[in-house]
Amino acid sequence: MINTLTSKALQGDQRSIAKLITIVENDTSDATDAMKQIHPHTGNAHVIGITGVMGCGKSTLIYELTKKYRKQGKTVGIIAIDPTSPFSGGALLGDRIRMMELAMDEGVFIRSMGTRGMLGGLTSSVYDVVEIMDASGKDIVLVETVGVGQAEVDIIKISDTTIVVVVPGLGDSIQTLKAGIMEIADIYVVNKADRQGVEQTVAEVQSLVEIECSNKERKTPIIETIAKESKHIDTLVETIDEHKQFLKETKKLEQQRRNRYESELVEIIRKKLMSYVFNEEKFKETIEDLLQKIRSKEIDPHTASELILKKIMKT
């Protein structure tokens, strides 16, 4: 069954793509088999990550970018991530609202995902979902992170081009964002550029770029857009193309892809290891016992974790 599903997904069948994504998202036993067949067909899509604070217009920008790419005849996959509630485990995924007009276009595939416990602005299965969309023939894969604060920078691990969106009216906040989110951009977008204070925002980003890029071969461009009115999206598309060209010419693309696989490997091992330690019956008693001892101060958490690791290595 999984074979039929992957071969149909590789031909671009929407429903099979959707089913495969569910399999990797739930990490069922078929996930490994599926990805075994998907992986050889990946590497063609340009992956664009879009991140920024809540309400800065990420979904609208993605909608506008998608329209442009479709005009160029390119197919687009969109992964829109929203936070999962840490209390109920549920999520309200609302990014599609701004993209529903794309729903009937066969060249576009949109998937909404909850973070399901991951910090960093992504969800742990996002690597697989990018690969599935890539292998199914999408030319462009757009990944929208949750609305981020300062340190949710995981998006660079999967993107070829990372776009950080800021908006006027955040005041001095850009200054305080010097570390973290403001270090990861390949392109800055100042969206809602019809708002008051746009000159100041651009100037602040500019001064950051001057410091950050003083000894780099490429200066991070700053693009002003008004996504809601479809303004300056062409310039953004051109700038993304330029960055793609830059990655190719400088061989940085190779390096970035290598890094992506490394992060993915770390993530998969982390997941497998954690589920091995905490879901296997044979460790349950040990863990309960150690937790009790930590509480009664017989042992400290560091020593306890070393004991658990020793036990794993023996099995």
């Binding site: 929407q14 569910t22 509630s85 549920g90 309200l92 995924l93 599609r96 909404s112």
Partner: protein, 133 residues
């Protein structure tokens, strides 16, 4: 500790020309609080758009909300389209101002759960949990 159980995914949509989405949003929140992943698509959707979104999101459930009185057309259109695409395994629900007399007809057409005024969010959550395979 690490919870890998399958999450119920549900699409909440407003078909047709009805701008009242308070009810749909309250239901969406209640389902989220019950641990489900709720994809909310907003207003003015055609049945074709709803079904296409349900395909891409691979949802277990579709919940339609309509207060304009066109449920016999729009709910049934969605049900027919699901059948056409071989998606009978998706649980289809409808809610809104729906006269008692219409409910059996809607059931017959494939709308498994129909929720009129006075329904509590608990009723809906329970129905979903019980009927998703």
């Amino acid at each position: 500790m690490i919870n890998m159980e399958r999450k119920i995914r549900i699409l909440i949509a407003k078909p047709g020309l009805d701008g009242h989405d308070r009810g749909a949003k309250i239901v969406a929140r209640a389902l989220r609080d019950a641990g489900m992943e709720v994809i909310y698509t907003g207003l003015h959707q055609t049945p074709a758009m709803i079904v296409e979104a349900a395909i891409q999101e691979d949802v277990d459930v579709i919940g339609l909300s309509l207060l304009s009185g066109a449920h016999m057309t729009l709910f049934v259109d969605v049900a027919d389209m699901l059948k056409e695409k071989g998606m009978e395994d998706v649980l289809l629900l409808g809610g809104g101002i729906i006269p008692e007399a219409d409910i059996p007809k809607l059931h017959e057409k494939g709308i498994a759960g129909v929720f009129g005024p006075g329904t509590t969010t608990e009723d809906i959550v329970e129905f979903v949990k019980k009927n998703v395979k």
